[in-house]
Symmetry: D3
């Protein structure tokens, strides 16, 4: 699903940049002789990487910001100079947001709220009609100013920045999403069908995904995020 | 402008393919393990080439159809196997449209009506929710079923195919379009400013663009298309 | 050796597709304006990946089918849209085989018989003169209809499909194969030379490759495949 | 047809390099850690360029030799460092042939005999089992030692070099070749069908292709090559 | 020679950017996580294109400025998004120079002085230690502040900008340069050797390169640049 | 730092190859029609990989030699045929050095002296003016003939080979190097600032980097290289 969301983020960007939605009226990739959009992707995980691939494929000028040097190295090898990589510090985020036409927020920490990476104050330094796409909307959003929107009415403006914060983005392409989901979950479905609930204990991925068991919270990040007591699955099942 | 229109055609495709507009619910480039959209671009000129570049950049499976073998060779060299090229015959158009998720009509003949390449009957063989983008809407359209729409209400459905036929597509990205137009027209503007109307006679591009002079039609394709008598500029000016 | 076999599979394909061997008379990569061969590679391991690289390098339209999503993601990153990836289900295999000009069987499970992926019935739906290349011939083959052939007489026909099932394919390029083998085995040879048989116990790769020790079968897959009792090396050596 | 022949030349190379045909037993592209074949393509026209693309696509180390600097520049731009280009002098041909595993002769001068570029003496400096592919066999061949062979018995050996000199190479892939030929000739066929023989005079390509008219030789290169008097078509038709 | 000069310009840039020559202490391509140098190439002819290729090959962020839209389109096709193209206006030059770490002046007008594209005032807005490479030094230079230097002492500083303005840059790589020159001039040398001075009149390239004939200036640009009367070669030879 | 050093090695090569430093007078990437430099990179780690990327980016003909087959496979996948990979044996090193214009020594074994890979005798077989760049100078160098030089006087000649052996190469580009170093070390700095010396025991990277603790040598390679007794950190801290 992260791959679908990351790729859709760039289609969303195209829509939000158009003049009739209040955007800067820019074509993502420009044309020969005319500058492309300058795009910053915050977060170099699956979402951010797929967003960057699509943006580069359309001709944008793209920078990925991440706080893991080994990950930046991998990205640098894949993109072979087509996308810039930059280490994440408060300074580098500010500097890149300041000159960007588009900021993609692609920071997800599973099971917990997304960190707020871009403050309202930072936004105010951007040019009028710049675009913010928040792919972490389902988990609280990674911009201070983001709140969930829908495919029917996807954008709103704050301080001149067009925000695209649709929750459940992959819902717009159900054919692709359902195949992607099936491919991922088929082995687990088969395990459950063959072995019943016992499969949860035998399959590490299923076990580690269990949130509640016999009334106890067995997923650490959720427990911490809600301030409730956490029971490791081994204890809860004992 | 053709470059802008060709590139925008792919952003339009993304929008039209979404489920909430009635499309097939496909992501243009698919994701690993899930098939991308199969796209046919009819016409390998500037519009079609830029459309194909963007589509390939997003990961689609793209075929360009054109009736010029030298042009197909050039395209084959540029795309290095990333985009397929196919010679245009009635058979090849039918075969490609039949298996396509998206058909981009990119055939423009300057000053005359676009030829109707895809009949309503051909459309009926496509899968429900397939997408038709007509970049030649301003000149009558290259699908039998296309008629102009607007950015506010861009799509309509005929026989299950979603049609995107916005006239003046580049109007959605005025910042990019106006720079592109300025870059193209600046030399002619300077020529007119410096030499006045005389520039029209001295500058081949301006002269060949003249439509009417002293009440006579001096542009052959327009004259033929309207069934009016044509006067070469040399005669009209004599 | 898998790399050599995978790469040779595409040279074999070129030969088998030619008219004088009974093939469809297709050039793998087509030429500008003429469609390339549509090729399906079943199995995204080393054999399949190298086969796909060569096929894409010649201009074919290639799809790799595999049942591991993480592997399909890696392949998608390497090929950057040049090769399609598809998740392996009975449906997807049938659908791809049905429209393919060439099917490469590249599924190897070390030490055991290759699974039969394509049935004789599936073959019958392919066009006359289509090509089947079985890289798993040495281990029983992964097509129902495949049986080993030789470099001297490499192909035979079943239901109109040309089968290329040469056992020991790398034997055709001994200079490349022997260097590849030396590079792989040199460290083990040196270990054996320096330490004698003791090296087998000290070197994990050697130990895990031991098939029989003191009259006991110490390689699990072989034992299972032959229905004989299996002794872990630790027990056999005790 | 030149595109088909150029591409087939590399499939022929693969076959000829194999040990059981007497070749060096090399895989064209090597494998990681083992050197690929070193290939020289003499002639950077359509045949040579397509041969080089295929060879590079398979991983070979390729040098194109041509005597036109503007052409070498174009090739350098297309291949972006993936294929080396070298200016043709007697020295550079000798130097490259000396270190090559494969030499592709791709020099065609329409309507006349191909020039002999590689002498028997040069061949003798090559390593045993090296491969010579002559794509100009139909016009006399561009190696001193080449004479036409057939698809049934394609290779022979001279001084240790395996020669592949099949005349009418595209005949092996009739489906691709006939489409390619149709695409090229369709416009001329239509012109002849619509206008009869008059089309020959009105269509420059047809006129320049006329060899004999009213008993006179109207194609200069053929006349010179046969030592017969030449009549320009304008005179012959007068 | 232009190709050699353009490529050498990037090696010169690497040297000039180093701290011990007074440069900004930047690595042209940065490393993963650290920004590369931002480079502007003014002029998209042979010199500028080869400079841009090398700079992009090293990982720099490159923009080419040119005043020809058709040329920018060609460059955009070659570089496929790896290098940005921008139309040349006073505004765009200023904007790009202002944010650049390196400016390459690659504007040559054969036989006349290079136009001064970057004024001393523009330079003063650049960051301390930025680098200016002037490839047009031999023809007066295209920066207001440039004057010829030598390989022995190649750089000097003006207003904090390091200037590299070596005249006859290709002299540093005589082996490459002399081969390049031979390849270009060999046909003309042979023509002169075979036909003597008559070759000048029969060979368009030689004739158009003649500067003085029988005491008259036969090269227009030189005549204009020196303010002397110009005689077309046809008149001078009459 | 290894990335910076590897990339700088190619800029150093460019300088050393120039005629005025005694080099062969070659342009690294040649120009169309003229051969590029033939470069061998010994060692496929971070230094060697970045050196190879830069060299390939400039158009050189590059071979990487390494003794790990899995690493050669990774490199082959990244470079996709643009750089050759070769397994390291005494024979292959000799063969490649013999035909090379440039040899980059990029073999580092952390904490110990670099192995001597190229003997003085091997050098003598190279052509006059060939270039040797030793990136392991700080650890004794990996050529028999190398000794440390400085940025002020970077090269010297031995038996006709120009040696570039600057110690602390990254010092030339302090802006890039300091950012790269900060990015790498920031997490460790923060750990030390927050937890004091205790961080060394809690952070595996810090612990494994400790050389001396309470007077005992806790880094194995250093101990062995100096012939002093080694105490694992667990013992030293007990």
């Amino acid at each position: 699903m992260s791959e679908v969301a990351g790729r859709l983020a760039i289609e969303a960007t195209g829509t939000a940049l158009k003049r009739y939605t209040g955007g800067r009226g820019l074509l993502i990739g420009g044309v020969p002789g005319v500058q492309p959009a300058r795009m910053v992707v915050i977060g170099g995980g699956v979402v951010g990487t797929h967003a960057a691939r699509m943006a580069a494929g359309l001709g944008a000028e793209v920078t990925i910001i991440d706080r893991s040097i080994p990950r930046l190295r991998e990205l640098d090898e894949w993109f072979e100079g087509r996308v810039r990589t930059r280490f994440s510090t408060i300074d580098s985020v500010e500097e890149e947001v300041f000159t960007a036409d588009v900021v993609i927020g692609a920071v997800l920490v599973p099971g917990t709220s997304a960190p707020k990476l871009v403050s309202r104050k930072m936004l105010s330094s951007m040019r009028r009609g710049s675009v913010i796409v928040d792919v972490a909307t389902d988990q609280g959003g990674c911009f201070e100013t983001s709140h969930p929107t829908t495919h029917a009415d996807p954008t709103y403006e704050v301080d001149g920045a067009i925000h695209y914060c649709v929750a459940n983005m992959p819902g717009a392409v159900p054919q692709t999403s359902s195949h992607a989901l099936n491919n991922e979950t088929l082995p687990f479905g088969l395990a459950l069908a063959n072995k019943g609930f016992a499969a949860v204990f035998e399959t590490p991925h299923l076990r580690s995904g269990l949130n509640v068991y016999r009334g106890r919270l067995t997923y650490k990040a959720v427990a911490e995020s809600l301030g409730l007591p956490f029971s490791p699955i081994e204890h809860a099942a004992a």
